[in-house]
C-alpha cells in the first residue's frame, strides 16, 4: 500500500470516537454495521450510533412501495434483533423502520418499535404493512416527531388507542388513520400535523389544537354529496396546506396568524367551494392555488 493512501485511510480511523459515531449515525444502519469488518478499531464503533435506519422495501419504477416476500426475511429479522441488542445508546435520536415485505412477522415489528420507545426515541418514522402498534408508543415521554405511514396499497388504517399522552410531541404525520381526532388534548406542545380527512361518518371534522402552527390536510371525499364541514379552531396556525379533493366547506374561526396557505386540490364539482375557501383565506400573506387532476396518477 502506498504511503499516501495509508495516510488517507488512517485519517478516518483516527477521528475521535464521538465524531465517528455521528458520521455512522447518518447512514442506513446496514452500512454503519458493515464498518465493523474494517478492522479491530472499527469493530464496535457502530454500537454508539444514535440513529437507526432499517429499510426492507421494494418500490415500483414510480417509487410506490410494493408488497413482496423474498425469503431473506429471517436474516433481516435477526439483523434488526442483533443491532437492537448491541446498540449502546440509551437515547435514540431517530428510528426509521420501513418494511414492505409481508414476510416479516408482526410480533417482531411490534417488539422493535417497543424497543425504540425503551431507548427513549425522539424521532420515529414507521412505514409498515400491518396496522398494529405497541401501546407503549402512545405514552412515550421522549417522542418529538412521529410519522406513521401504511406501506402498501392494501392501505390498512392506523387506529389510535384510547390512552394517548405524548408530552413532547411536536410533529405528527399520520396517513390513513381511522380516528385522527383522538390526539386532541393528548399532545400539549404539538406544532405540526399532517393527516387525512376521510371520514366514514357524516359528522363535521372539528380540529381544535391551540398550539398548532402547521397543518397539512389530505382531503378525500367518500360521498359525492358531502355536507360535512371541516372546522379549524387553530388560533396559532401559520401554515395551511390542503391536498386531495376539495370536498367540504371550511370553517376557520381565527386565521389572523396565518402566513402562508397552499391549496392544491383536484377539480371539484362545486365551484362555490373554491370561492368559499378563497374568501376565508383573504388577507393571508402568501397564497398558492393549484387545481390538480388526479388522472395523472392513473
Amino acid at each position: 500500500m502506498s504511503s499516501t493512501s495509508e495516510n488517507v485511510d488512517d485519517r478516518l480511523s483516527m477521528l475521535p470516537e464521538d465524531i465517528l459515531s455521528r458520521i455512522l449515525s447518518l447512514m442506513p444502519t446496514k452500512y454503519a454495521v458493515g464498518t465493523s469488518v474494517l478492522s479491530k478499531r472499527w469493530r464496535y464503533t457502530w454500537t454508539s450510533v444514535t440513529n437507526l435506519d432499517f429499510d426492507y422495501t421494494r418500490r415500483s419504477p414510480n417509487m410506490i412501495t410494493l408488497k413482496f416476500v423474498d425469503g431473506n426475511e429471517e436474516k433481516f429479522t435477526k439483523f434488526v434483533d442483533r443491532v437492537l441488542k448491541f446498540c449502546k445508546t440509551s437515547h435514540l435520536k431517530s428510528f426509521r423502520l420501513h418494511i414492505s415485505s409481508s414476510g416479516v412477522s408482526q410480533s417482531s415489528i411490534l417488539n422493535w418499535i417497543d424497543n425504540a420507545v425503551r431507548l427513549n426515541v425522539r424521532e420515529l418514522d414507521v412505514c409498515v404493512i400491518q396496522s398494529e402498534l405497541p401501546l407503549s408508543l402512545f405514552t412515550c415521554k421522549t417522542l418529538t416527531d412521529l410519522r406513521l405511514e401504511p406501506s402498501d396499497c392494501d392501505l390498512k388504517r392506523w387506529e389510535f388507542p384510547s390512552t394517548i399522552y405524548l408530552p413532547c410531541l411536536k410533529t405528527l404525520d399520520i396517513f390513513l388513520c381511522d380516528n385522527p381526532l383522538a390526539i386532541q388534548g393528548c399532545c400539549p406542545v404539538l406544532e405540526s400535523l399532517s393527516l387525512n380527512v376521510s371520514c366514514y361518518v357524516e359528522q363535521d371534522f372539528i380540529l381544535n389544537i391551540p398550539t398548532l402552527k402547521r397543518l397539512n390536510l389530505l382531503c378525500i371525499s367518500i360521498y359525492d354529496d358531502d355536507n360535512r364541514k371541516i372546522i379549524l379552531r387553530l388560533p396559532k396556525l401559520e401554515y395551511l396546506f390542503v391536498d386531495g379533493e376539495l370536498c367540504s366547506l371550511f370553517e376557520m374561526e381565527d386565521v389572523s396568524s396565518l402566513v402562508e396557505a397552499s391549496i392544491s386540490c383536484s377539480a371539484c364539482s362545486f365551484d362555490f367551494m373554491w370561492a368559499d375557501i378563497l374568501n376565508k383565506l383573504r388577507g393571508v400573506q402568501k397564497l398558492t392555488i393549484a387545481n390538480v387532476s388526479l388522472f395523472f396518477f392513473k
Partner: protein, 155 residues
C-alpha cells in the same frame, strides 16, 4: 455607518488573521471566548492551520454576508456554496472536521459529516441529493394513489 469591531485570530503557524467581529462570532467557540473577555489581544487557535483557517473564515463571511431571508435564490445560493465548500480532497475534509469540531460550527459540521457518511456508503453528494428529491416526489404520488383507492372503495 455602524461601528464594526475587528478580532485578531492567531493560528497554528503563528499567522494572524484580522476579521470583523460579526464574522468571527459565527463559530461558537470564538463567540464564547469573546463573551468571556479572552479576545483583548488575539485569539489563539493552535489546532488550526492557516489553509483551514482561511477556508473557515471564507465560509463564515459568506454566511454572514448572505441576508437572512426566506428568499429562495439566496438560500439556494448558500446551499450550492456549502456543497462546493465540502467538495474537497479527503485530507482537507478531515482537517476541516477537526477544525470545525474545535470551533463548533454546527451547520457546516452536519454537512461535512453527511459528506463523509456518503463517502462510506459510496455515493456522491449529488446522488444523495437526487435521492432526497425522489423521496419528496414519492409523497405526492402517495396522495394520488390514496385518493384513487378511496374512490374505488366507495362503489
Amino acid at each position: 455607518m455602524s461601528y464594526s469591531k475587528t478580532i485578531v485570530l492567531t493560528n497554528y503557524d503563528g499567522e494572524t488573521f484580522v476579521v470583523d467581529e460579526v464574522v468571527a462570532v459565527e463559530p461558537q467557540t470564538i463567540e464564547h471566548m469573546i463573551e468571556d473577555g479572552c479576545a483583548n489581544t488575539s485569539i489563539p487557535l493552535p489546532n488550526v492551520t492557516s489553509k483551514i483557517l482561511s477556508k473557515v473564515i471564507e465560509h463564515c463571511k459568506k454566511h454572514v454576508e448572505t441576508p437572512n431571508s426566506n428568499e429562495k435564490a439566496a438560500k439556494a445560493d448558500l446551499k450550492s456554496f456549502d456543497f462546493d465548500f465540502v467538495k474537497a480532497d479527503q485530507g482537507t475534509l478531515f482537517d476541516l472536521i477537526l477544525a470545525m469540531n474545535y470551533l463548533n460550527i454546527k451547520e457546516l459540521l452536519d454537512l461535512i459529516y453527511q459528506t463523509v457518511a456518503d463517502m462510506i456508503k459510496g455515493k456522491t453528494p449529488e446522488e444523495e441529493e437526487e435521492m432526497r428529491r425522489v423521496n419528496a416526489w414519492v409523497f405526492s404520488c402517495f396522495v394520488g394513489v390514496t385518493c384513487l383507492y378511496f374512490k374505488s372503495k366507495k362503489m
